[in-house]
């Protein structure tokens, strides 16, 4: 109701402040750009991969990036980080939000002080950032994952989802798509019996997987769209009689899953290349800061080794489709 109106109006103001001058595609990339990239939580390796990509991009462009993150994956501690970062007057902030709305006010303040804001991996409120680098569209993740498990179980039987925390933005969006996808005639014989939450905690995910197997005797497949969850699930399966009988797919690291692919617990799983997400975000941040782009739909920019990208609706930049890892290709990856 009234809230939404307020926000859009205020966003209009912040947008104009950021996109006041027209984009100039051939503007030089400024030298010595300073950026701060803010992961959801320090010490989370996936995040580390991503943000090392940001570092790479800025080094390449003769700038520098510093990673500042909270020690717990909470919105409030991320806000402190943002505030502190802004005080250091960087050219741009690259953030993977813990909560789309909680961090928005702080980010808007940053924008008002001329700091460009790039969202990546998990989005923040659209009016609180100029562009959002999405590893892959929510739509694609949902569809690819359902297809992947469907393929493995012959599009027939009960399936379950082992997610992260109950209020993880990404996972919930993906699960929504999965549920819609399952409505398609192609998947009519597949039944989603349960969504379990492993809280991205190894032990908890392990227990949840074990619980699923026991609670649903004719479970055929499990989707775990979180790196922690899928690894824990695979570890449980690998030692359980259901090994090979219950199929498992999800989003996981080749390094964590290789073992289970080789021992036949897992046929295939999927993911994007995290480092590239960060790299692309870094490139986008530099382009923004140098005025090459302003975040309007249709603007194009050169993203180093990844080639040219075009900004889509709501300033979204999509890295690409999911990569599927299986026994055939897994050894080509190391992350």
């Amino acid at each position: 109701g009234s809230t939404k109106d307020d926000e859009s109006s205020s966003s209009a103001s912040s947008n104009t402040s950021s996109s006041s001058n027209e984009a100039n595609p051939d503007a030089e990339i400024k030298q010595g750009l300073k950026t701060v990239s803010i992961p959801k939580q320090l010490g989370n390796p996936y995040e580390e991969f991503e943000h090392s990509g940001v570092d790479e991009a800025l080094k390449e462009l003769g700038g520098s990036n510093s990673i500042k993150g909270p020690t717990d994956a909470s919105a409030s501690s991320q806000i402190s980080i943002i505030n502190a970062a802004v005080q250091q007057k960087p050219d741009a902030i690259i953030i993977a939000g813990n909560d789309p709305d909680a961090v928005a006010p702080a980010l808007k303040q940053a924008a008002q002080r001329g700091v460009k804001v790039v969202g990546m991996d998990s989005d923040v409120a659209a009016d609180a950032r100029s562009v959002f680098v999405n590893q892959v569209t929510t739509q694609l993740v949902g569809e690819n994952q359902v297809e992947s498990i469907g393929k493995q179980i012959g599009y027939k039987g009960d399936i379950a989802i082992l997610s992260a925390t109950a209020n993880a933005t990404n996972q919930n969006a993906w699960i929504k798509v999965m549920k819609e996808t399952l409505k398609k005639p192609k998947y009519k014989d597949m039944k989603l019996v349960k969504v379990a939450y492993g809280d991205d905690d190894d032990q908890k995910s392990f227990q949840e997987m074990q619980g699923l197997i026991q609670a649903y005797p004719n479970l055929k497949g499990v989707i775990s769209p979180t790196t922690v969850g899928v690894a824990a699930a695979a570890r449980y399966l690998s030692k359980s009689p259901q090994k090979g009988k219950v199929k498992l797919t999800g989003l996981g690291f080749p390094n964590q899953m290789r073992k289970f692919v080789k021992d036949g617990t897992v046929d295939e799983f999927q993911l994007w290349v995290p480092k590239d997400v960060g790299y692309l975000a870094g490139q986008a941040a530099a382009a923004l800061a140098s005025g090459r782009i302003t975040g309007k739909e249709g603007e194009k920019f050169e993203a180093g080794r990844l080639g040219e990208y075009t900004i889509g609706a709501d300033g979204e930049i999509v890295l690409g489709p999911l990569t599927t890892f299986s026994a055939d290709n897994i050894d080509d990856f190391d992350f």
Binding site: L42, T71, S74, N83, Q87, Q88, D99, D101, A166
Partner: protein, 358 residues
């Protein structure tokens, strides 16, 4: 003063000259703690210097705004917690009450209830949680440490039950801006104004009312307090209820400040709040400590946090290490001082009793 000299008829009410200023261990410790606030101020100055050295941005209104905003909820909860700990009890469940109040707020908001009605309900719920702790402690005589470890899990669990996997975000902007914004164009956040008001209220309550007097008496020697006709149980019940009430208030604040509600909000705040209270010179054994000390401790924590966040080189991991070290040091310091003075004049006992919990 030596007992035997009192045999000579004493000059009525005349202060005796030979009163020895270091009597019981408690007294000596007290003497040290008397200077505690001064010590904290010293530390604050050090932090300021160190912080400015780290970044010219440190001593700015900006830093205060954002820095204090970050601590808003912890600061609020620390106030009520101070009273609880002075009364020689403890409440580990505050952060869970905060989460429950936040979850309740979101759920009722979704149910279409007006915020003006929701907030009192949340506060009432918080008070009820506190009273629940209080009743278990006073009527059933259970140790508050154990009780509140239990309710820490229980209340957060209930928060999960209430809000589940939803996360509500469409709170009215006029309220969220209030929680996020500054006071009348100053660099002082509104939440800090709220804190200041409560700080004064609790300060008066603890330091200038009969109720406050009984809190100290109960904390320092419950039995003597009981023998003096103080309503030991009732006072404790009230304190736990207050603690719950303030925690619920903090829950409302954080919900509006983040304009979002989720069951996992404020996890671990209880430890930060307790740290602030103990660092403020409040004895974990009760009977000692001031609101002023706790406020200084909060400033200190906030300052250090801000300084480390602003630094380019120092990793923010150090925040935890420094916090922990400060906490231990704040008690260790006085003890070592006491030991030294004890070593000089032979103490009454050489093997110290073990530091016991709570």
């Amino acid at each position: 003063m030596p007992a035997d000299t009192t045999a000579t008829p004493p000059t009525t009410g005349a202060p005796a000259r030979d009163a020895e200023p270091t009597a019981t261990g408690g007294a000596r410790l007290r003497a040290v703690l008397g200077r505690w606030e001064a010590l904290l101020i010293g530390l604050l100055v050090l932090t300021a210097v160190f912080g400015q050295g780290i970044s010219s941005e440190f001593l700015t209104g900006d830093s205060f705004t954002t820095g204090s905003l970050d601590l808003s909820e912890v600061a609020l909860m620390a106030l009520a917690l101070t009273l609880v700990i002075v009364a020689a009890e403890i409440d580990l469940s505050v952060a869970s009450v905060l989460a429950l109040s936040s979850a309740l707020m979101a759920e009722l908001w979704n149910g279409g209830m007006p915020l003006e009605l929701i907030m009192p309900i949340c506060l009432a719920a918080g008070a009820a949680c506190g009273a629940f702790n209080g009743l278990l402690v006073t009527r059933f005589g259970l140790p508050s440490l154990a009780v509140t470890i239990g309710t820490l899990a229980l209340f957060r669990g209930l928060a999960l039950v209430v809000i589940g996997d939803e996360s509500v975000t469409d709170f009215p902007a006029n309220y969220t801006d209030l929680a996020f914004g500054n006071f009348a164009g100053t660099f002082v956040p509104n939440t800090m104004v709220l804190f200041a008001i409560l700080a004064v209220a609790f300060g008066v309550l603890l330091h200038a009312t009969p109720f406050g007097r009984s809190i100290y008496a109960i904390g320092a020697n419950e039995e003597a307090a009981y023998f003096t006709g103080l309503r030991v149980k009732r006072v404790k019940l009230i304190l736990f209820t207050l603690s719950g009430l303030v925690a619920a208030l903090a829950g409302i604040v954080i919900t509006l400040r983040n304009s979002t509600a989720a069951a996992n909000v404020g996890q671990g705040f209880e430890l930060t709040a307790i740290t602030a209270v103990l660092l403020g010179g409040v004895s974990i054994f009760g009977g000692r400590g001031t609101i002023a000390g706790v406020i200084l401790a909060l400033l200190l924590l906030g300052g250090i946090q801000k300084a480390l966040l602003l630094s380019q080189s120092i990793s923010s991991y150090w925040i935890q290490i420094v916090t922990g070290a400060l906490l231990v040091g704040s008690v260790l310091g006085p003890n070592i001082a006491r030991r030294v003075s004890e070593a000089r004049r032979r103490g009454t006992s050489h093997t110290p009793e073990e530091g016991s919990t709570t």
